[in-house]
């Protein structure tokens, strides 16, 4: 390998493309190193914040800039407006999780530094996944995201639930990774390449997919991605892991991980033959049904939101199925999924964040019983959670509504109207449990054993984060033009 090759590989465009990743990576290392020095809490926080802001700024710069680097590194990584938008979404997701984690681990505060590093590393993984045009790159990104999350899930290692969550996530995640690798190997065996652009040309795609081996490979790959985005029948880990993990981490899993997996899935769409659209749609509908039904009987709001997340994954998958079937609108599915996930990150991130805040008052606060009368005790928190619930339910004036609209639009455009109708009707079931949260907060008096009014003030970072989520959700619902134009 000579210098000229390296020069073409690491061109200016490549540096530009990778700049956000560098920012995150350097930041993560810096925070890690900073842990060695007796720096104040604030200083370390500033460091994390700076890292995230830098990454976000670089992404936004790419989003608004005149030109984008495009495919770099021999076509294994892409940096365009879409990945930049994903990058913004990831940084927001991680930033939210980080902000809400500020005062979460009172008893484990000594490891806050490691926690922050892991979070930043996972952000790096997400960005890598979103830009990956090569299975190797994607795998590295995936593991860079997953391994920190395994650790984060079990971060409260003195609690059985947390460790159980970490273990389950880890084992099943590794299991899924095995599928991913084997699937990649099969595709590689047939096509002779690990780059995704081999699927871009319809002729070569058709040739590859003629081979059953490649089809099995694609199926295994898809299955492992389904695991990350929590689609039936790969979704079962989600409730347990979400429930057991520390709530800010759950928020991160629900938002960032899922968004990253979707980002790659949309890139990998080309690999899926249009004949799979029916099966994808059916899987999507089953996922929505199981997610919504599962949530319907939960008492713990965290677990309920886990199931709700499954259902939401089903919704996006329906859009993807539409795209696979043939969305006459070029890039429509990507736009829809981006918008949907952006709204979902703000919404679910905010919702888990509020739950994290409530949890400090005692574990039971995240149950429906514990939420009773919250509207009277803490009207602002309750109002924020209400907005999030309405957005999750897809009620207008929230980002969730327009996201739902756009995703179902994809299905309608692909003329999968029966699936779209069943899908929207399943979201009525979903409303059933979102309303229960609202009912508990506003319409029921606190029970006898409900927690008393908390005297603890809410920390500034969390307040800011919640307010930002509410604002984002509402802006996306009411004035979505900017987002739509940039997605």
């Amino acid at each position: 390998m000579n210098a000229s090759v390296l020069k073409t590989l690491f061109s200016d465009a490549a540096y530009a493309a990778l700049a956000p990743l560098f920012a995150l990576g350097i930041g993560a290392l810096a925070v890690l190193v900073a842990g060695l020095f007796p720096l104040g809490k604030v200083a370390r926080a500033v460091l994390v914040l700076l890292t995230l802001l830098a990454a976000a700024a670089l992404n936004v710069g790419m989003l608004l800039g005149d030109s984008v680097p495009g495919l770099v590194l021999d076509g294994t990584f892409v940096a365009d407006r879409t990945t930049a938008m994903w990058g913004v979404i990831f940084t927001i997701g991680v930033g939210l999780a980080w902000l809400f984690s500020r005062h979460y681990y009172d008893e484990d505060a000594s490891h806050q530094n490691e926690h922050d590093v892991l979070m930043l590393a996972s952000a790096l993984g997400m960005s890598l996944m979103a830009g990956a045009r090569d299975l190797i790159v994607f795998f590295i990104g995936l593991e860079l995201l997953s391994i920190p999350l395994y650790a984060l899930a079990a971060f409260r290692r003195n609690r059985a639930k947390s460790v159980e969550a970490g273990l389950k996530y880890f084992l099943l995640g590794a299991f899924a990774a095995g599928f991913f690798l084997y699937g990649s190997a099969l595709i590689y065996a047939v096509s002779g390449t690990l780059k995704l652009d081999v699927f871009a040309d319809p002729a070569s795609r058709a040739k590859i997919l003629e081979s059953p081996m490649a089809l099995v490979g694609v199926a295994m790959l898809t299955g492992s991605l389904f695991f990350k985005i929590s689609v039936f029948p790969f979704h079962l880990w989600v409730p347990d892991v979400y429930e057991g993990s520390p709530t800010p981490v759950t928020g991160l899993m629900a938002t960032g991980t899922k968004a990253a997996a979707f980002a790659f899935l949309l890139n990998a769409l080309l690999a899926l033959p249009s004949s799979t659209s029916t099966s994808l749609a059916i899987i999507a509908l089953i996922t929505m049904a199981l997610g919504n039904l599962g949530a319907l009987v939960q008492q713990d709001v965290k677990r309920m939101l886990a199931y709700s997340g499954i259902a939401h994954a089903g919704v996006v998958l329906l859009g993807i199925a539409g795209a696979v079937a043939g969305d006459p609108k070029q890039g429509g599915a990507v736009q829809a999924a981006l918008f949907y996930m952006a709204a979902y990150v703000a919404t679910a991130g905010g919702a888990f964040g509020v739950l994290a805040l409530l949890e400090r008052d005692g574990e039971r606060m995240t149950t429906l019983e514990g939420l009773k009368g919250l509207g009277q005790r803490r009207p602002y928190l309750a109002a924020a959670l209400t907005v999030f619930m309405l957005s999750l339910a897809g009620i207008p004036a929230t980002g969730g509504f327009l996201g739902k609209w756009m995703v179902f639009s994809v299905a309608v455009r692909a003329e999968m109207i029966p699936a779209a109708v069943v899908g929207v009707l399943l979201s009525v079931v979903a409303l059933g449990y979102y309303l229960r949260v609202i009912i508990a907060m506003w319409m029921q008096e606190p029970g006898e054993d409900s927690p008393l009014a908390s005297t603890r003030a809410i920390a500034l970072p969390a307040t800011l984060a919640s307010a930002a989520c509410v604002a984002l959700v509402l802006v996306m619902g009411l004035a979505p033009r900017w987002f739509l134009d940039h997605m």
């Binding site: 609108k329 736009q335 207008p396 609209w405 756009m406 639009s409 309608v412 009707l425 409303l431 319409m443």
Partner: protein, 521 residues
């Protein structure tokens, strides 16, 4: 650009925001602020009504239009979704009714809302914005926005200030109505994608030429959403529950305005936008309307809870509206439109009255009363006037609408008109039964002896409505003259569709190219 409609629509929301930031205990301030806001809105509404002449553009007046965002369409350019508000003959009466009814409703809360006043007023005002927006929106997406948003305030109003089974009722209401709306959403998505515009009047011009099968599918989706909202038999079961549990003011708004969103939608979209399908589906819709009249009346007759009885009577009365609209004759449509207003006024009054007696007696069971007229003669006076308006006595508002509906329906289908006519009889049966059991007879129950008659506030808030009852009954032309040009446009479309159907043609499918030209305007 004219800002009247924006002001009208969002003034309540501003008021709500202002009230939200008042201190917690300042109930008097909150009540007065809400009242003041709604009074200003009512004044604006009346001004618009008066300024709305009987000639002018029929594609929306006082137009306000701002580009909002765009969504994909099957044409090169994206579908521009505009924030477009406009008033026309179809929405005029409903907008005015919404504006005028709200101060009355707010004033009525003095008597029955004692907890969490601030929140109550906020939700009431938010609801007004939602309702006005629904009626004024001349963009399909915007319409859907407001349509769904207006569910939330009522959800809270019933859920927080409702009766014993309020949670059941409010969830049922929300889920049921939403289920229908979501199917409509799919239809709207389809329209936007295939037609490349979301402007209501453009779509009205485009979709009437859509193939009949497509029209019928779209019709089914829209009619389901509106039918549930109306509510049309057999989708009505949420209504009695919601009404029974809602606080008085919630019931008044629900009956007075919210249900009309459904009938408004039927006129605006199912009939005007999809005339071909409307002509095809008219027999079914008329049948549902007519059977609904009878069914609701029988249901009401078998109730012992006063409020539930009136709720069931709503099913019956709205059956008239649907019967009239889908007669698809000028008389029927005019009657249906008028009947919407009439029902809003008279059923609103009935709910107010039930609320007033409930505040005093804490019971709504018919058996708990008897001889109330002796203790509360003024209450009895208002009740009887309202009852008569509700049963359609000539000279009061109910009659004109009912008669036009039946005339129109008879032209289209004597059978369903006669079935609907049974409502004239049964309407009297249940209303007079309720009146007799509550007002008349001996004042023999000790709890009833202590009842005090209506006070000045209660009389004052009902007087405007009673005046409307008489005015609409004696001079309906004041109102019909204004709506007439717009309804004439609907009639034209129906006539075209009828001709097409008679000619045995699938409503001539226009070439996509010409549609594009039209939408490109």
């Amino acid at each position: 650009m004219q800002y009247e409609l924006v002001l009208l629509t969002f003034l309540p929301l501003l008021g709500a925001l202002a009230i939200a930031f008042t201190p917690k205990g300042a109930e008097r301030l909150q009540r007065l602020a809400a009242l003041a806001t709604t009074l200003v809105v009512a004044a604006l509404g009346v001004r618009l009504f008066l300024a709305y002449g009987d000639s002018g553009s029929d594609q929306g007046r006082f137009l306000f239009e701002l580009p909002w965002f765009s969504l994909p369409s099957s044409y090169g350019a994206d579908t521009a979704v505009n924030f477009k508000l406009g008033l026309d003959g179809v929405s005029l009466l409903m907008v005015t009714l919404t504006a005028v009814l709200m101060p009355i409703v707010i004033l009525s809360t003095w008597g029955h809302v004692h907890k969490r006043v601030k929140e109550f007023m906020v939700w009431m005002l938010v609801m007004q914005t939602g309702m006005l927006g629904t009626f004024l929106a001349l963009d399909l997406v915007l319409f859907y926005f407001f349509w769904e948003i207006s569910l939330i305030p009522l959800y809270f109003l019933i859920g927080i200030w409702g009766g014993e089974r309020r949670l059941y009722a409010t969830v049922k209401f929300f889920l049921y109505t939403l289920a229908g709306s979501l199917v409509m959403m799919v239809a709207i998505i389809w329209i936007l994608w295939t037609r490349g515009t979301s402007d209501v009047f453009e779509l009205i011009n485009i979709l009437c030429r859509a193939p009949l099968t497509e029209q019928l599918w779209l019709f089914a989706a829209f009619a389901l959403a509106f039918g549930i909202k109306v509510p049309l038999l057999p989708f009505h079961t949420w209504l009695p529950d919601a009404h029974t549990e809602a606080p008085t003011s919630g019931s008044v708004v629900l009956a007075g305005v919210l249900l009309k969103m459904g009938t408004y939608g039927l006129v605006r979209f199912c009939i005007h936008m999809l005339p071909g399908a409307a002509v095809e589906a008219a027999p079914v819709m008329m049948a549902l309307g007519a059977i609904g009249i009878l069914y609701g009346a029988l249901l009401a007759w078998a109730q012992d809870d006063l409020k539930r009885l009136i709720a069931c009577s709503s099913v019956s009365h709205l059956g008239y509206v649907v019967l009239g609209l889908f007669a698809l004759t000028p008389a029927g449509i005019n009657g249906g439109m008028l009947q919407m207003v009439n029902h809003g006024i008279s059923t609103g009054l009935l709910f107010l009255l039930v609320g007033m007696i409930y505040e005093r007696r804490h019971s709504r069971a018919l058996d708990a009363f008897g001889g109330v007229a002796v203790a509360m003669p003024l209450f009895a006076l208002f009740w009887v006037i309202t009852t008569l308006s509700s049963v359609g006595l000539p000279g009061l508002n109910g009659f004109v609408g009912e008669y036009l509906v039946l005339v129109g329906a008879f032209q289209a289908s004597p059978l369903w008109a006669i079935v609907g006519l049974s409502g004239v009889i049964f309407g009297a049966v249940y209303m007079l039964m309720a009146t007799r059991r509550m007002l008349f007879g001996a004042l023999d129950k000790p709890e009833n002896r202590e009842l005090t008659d209506l006070n000045a506030r209660e009389i004052g808030l009902m007087l405007p409505l009673v005046a409307l009852v008489v005015w609409l009954g004696v001079s309906p032309n004041t109102f019909m003259a204004k709506t007439q040009p717009s309804i004439e446009m609907v009639n034209l479309r129906i006539a075209e569709a009828r001709r097409a159907a008679l000619a045995g043609l699938d409503a001539a499918p226009a070439a996509p190219a010409s549609q594009r030209e039209e939408s490109a305007r």
